[in-house]
């Protein structure tokens, strides 16, 4: 028996490997470094590995390969762009995560118990969050470049499992946080089962789990269509769940609200990039020839998602839930990019994902700042008058909201324009019109928050804005600068994306 050593192309996989290494070092640090020094060391390691990975991604940006890791992954332009976006979002988020006030000091302790109180008083901080984040990032990096169903599934789980845990680590309102974790986990597992089942059918149809093989089978057109369609449908359900498309969205408001805010921000932004990355690859490269079967379904889902997200967001009273519904609506907008199924759609989606991700982290960063004595205040009514007390914080939040609403001169506008024009180009006029109309509805609730912050007088209670730590400040500032820059001068990024945004099979 001849044993070929696998050709792994380490340099191409390096970003993922670096992150994984960082994560493992993090685990070791938990074991060997003293409590007092852990936070700084962990942060340095996490940040270092993220930056290193980012540098590596940029270094290999012009390479492409279909054979890395024995064909389990594809290294191509879009994949690297997604990785770039994920890493940048992660870097920004890590500053936010480093602001430890948000996390419970002892995840194992009962909420409200003496044990918990002691841990908090002794200044114990939760540093496990860093390796967890890095593991999730590793999964996310793998997700959009996976090129067979096994890798895709493994990546899905690698990115999900740490997030399930991280969702339960909030310092305040711990019961809610744990509930969020439970819901996220159960529903996530449920949807993974769908995904896996769909994957089985795709395998059954094509006789192979590799994307290239499935594509070849599809082009050959010999297999059983019902099996193919069931496969596509169930795999899609798994992915649509991750991006929060209606009717697979139900977890997101609850989880967004319950999870620690920095995690919500990270999850909302990075997961979306990763999941859409995988979805775009799957549907653009593998299943494009079956578009007549799946596009109608996607159109319906996109339309429902945009309208539902926008409508329900209007009546939200909690800022995190409101942002959750907003992210559902944005999932709908992003789905139009999948529907577009053309190069413009791919470029637009990448741009949109990046712009949206950055703004999201920034917005959640601001949410962490608004507090009263018992912690974060996400009740919108108590945000009233924020503009008077902390004009800069409120203005920054307003700016992010305007970006979400797609007002010109913010990054959101360029993204929306690009993605809608791509969808229109592909003939999905109805989706574009619904998208435009639901943008109006969406604008309504963003504006409502702005009104609340700027034009409504504060209630008597003591909601205040904490002076942001340098790290949080960094998060918000970087997000803000990127959001403005992408709104006014989107060209550099667009030009960067353009030559790279070509999938290879």
């Amino acid at each position: 028996m001849i044993f070929n050593s696998p050709a792994l192309s380490y340099s191409l996989l390096a970003p993922i490997l670096i992150i994984l290494a960082g994560a493992l070092i993090g685990v070791l640090i938990e074991a060997f470094v003293g409590k007092a020094r852990r936070p700084v060391v962990q942060l340095s390691v996490a940040l270092g590995s993220l930056v290193l990975a980012l540098v590596q991604v940029i270094r290999i940006r012009n390479l492409s390969s279909t054979t890395a890791a024995m064909g389990s992954v594809v290294i191509d332009g879009p994949g690297l762009l997604f990785q770039c976006a994920i890493l940048i979002v992660a870097v920004i988020s890590i500053f936010l995560i480093a602001d430890q006030d948000n996390f419970t000091s002892s995840a194992a302790a009962l909420p409200g118990s003496d044990e918990e109180r002691q841990a908090t008083q002794s200044g114990t901080v939760l540093t496990e969050i860093y390796p967890l984040t890095l593991f999730a990032v590793a999964g996310m990096l793998l997700f959009p470049i996976a090129s067979d169903l096994i890798t895709l599934f493994v990546a899905l789980e690698v990115l999900s499992l740490p997030l399930y845990l991280m969702a339960g680590l909030s310092r305040h309102r711990r019961l809610a946080s744990q509930e969020a974790a439970l819901k996220y986990f159960l529903l996530g597992a449920f949807s993974s089962a769908f995904f896996l089942f769909g994957a089985a059918y795709l395998y059954g149809y094509a006789g192979t789990v590799s994307f290239a093989g499935i594509h070849a089978a599809l082009v050959g057109g010999t297999g059983n269509d019902v099996i193919l369609l069931l496969g596509i449908a169930f795999v899609a359900i798994g992915l649509l769940f991750k991006v929060g498309a209606v009717p697979f969205h139900a977890w997101s408001p609850d989880v967004y609200q319950g999870a620690p805010t920095p995690i919500t921000g990270f999850m909302a932004a990075a997961t979306k990039v990763a999941a859409f990355g995988a979805m775009l690859r799957l549907f653009y490269t593998v299943l494009a020839e079956a578009q007549w079967q799946w596009r109608p379904f996607f159109m319906v889902i996109a339309i429902i998602t945009m309208i539902f997200g926008s409508l329900v967001a209007i009546s939200q009273r909690d800022v995190k839930r409101m942002l959750a519904y907003s992210s559902i609506a944005h999932a709908g907008f992003l789905l139009t990019g999948v529907i577009a199924l053309n190069k413009a759609g791919l470029e637009a989606s990448i741009y949109y994902l990046f712009a949206y991700g950055v703004a999201t982290v920034g917005a959640f960063g601001i949410v962490t700042l608004v507090r009263d004595s018992s912690g974060e205040v996400s009740d919108l009514n108590r945000w009233a008058g924020l503009g008077k007390r902390s004009p800069w914080v409120a203005s920054a939040f307003a700016f992010f909201l305007l970006a979400f609403a797609g007002i010109p001169l913010t990054s959101g506008f360029i993204g929306k324009f690009a993605i809608f024009s791509a969808a229109y180009e592909s003939g999905a006029t109805a989706v574009v019109i619904v998208g435009v109309l639901s943008s109006v509805i969406a604008a309504f609730f963003y504006i409502r928050v702005i009104v609340l912050m700027f034009f409504t007088d504060a209630t008597e209670d003591g909601t205040s804005v904490v002076i942001p730590s340098i790290l949080t400040r960094l998060t918000i500032l970087i997000s803000l600068v990127i959001t403005v820059a992408l709104g006014v001068f989107p060209s550099p990024l667009l030009d960067f994306i353009k030559p790279l945004a070509i999938f290879i099979r």
Binding site: V154, Q178, A181, K183, D254
Partner: protein
């Protein structure tokens, strides 16, 4: 025996699992139903592996088992934590976050 029957069985198991997730209240049972669904998928993989005459499906099944095991670790951790805080493993009791 016609291998299509395995597919029907797998579909049936999957459905049972899915319905179980919806109707059962105990978090552990719900989770077991998810495991049932995963295994239904595994059965499909293996069946298709047989039909297609290659081993890919069977490899996937191994992967699935490993992943499922990881899931159990994480899942049980979460469920136990929430059980400790609430003294209840009913998923219906976790109802703070809504609307």
């Amino acid at each position: 025996m016609n291998s299509a029957n395995y597919l029907y069985l797998s579909a049936l198991l999957f459905t049972i699992g899915a319905v179980g997730v919806v109707i059962r209240r105990n978090a552990i049972v719900v989770f077991m139903c998810v495991e049932l669904m995963l295994n239904a998928a595994n059965l499909s993989f293996v069946t298709f592996s047989r039909i297609n005459g290659n081993l890919d499906g069977q490899i996937v099944a191994f992967f699935t088992m490993v992943v499922a095991a990881c899931e159990v670790v994480v899942g049980l951790a979460i469920i136990v934590t929430i059980y400790r805080s609430r003294r209840s493993a009913s998923v219906d009791d976790a109802n703070l976050l809504k609307r």
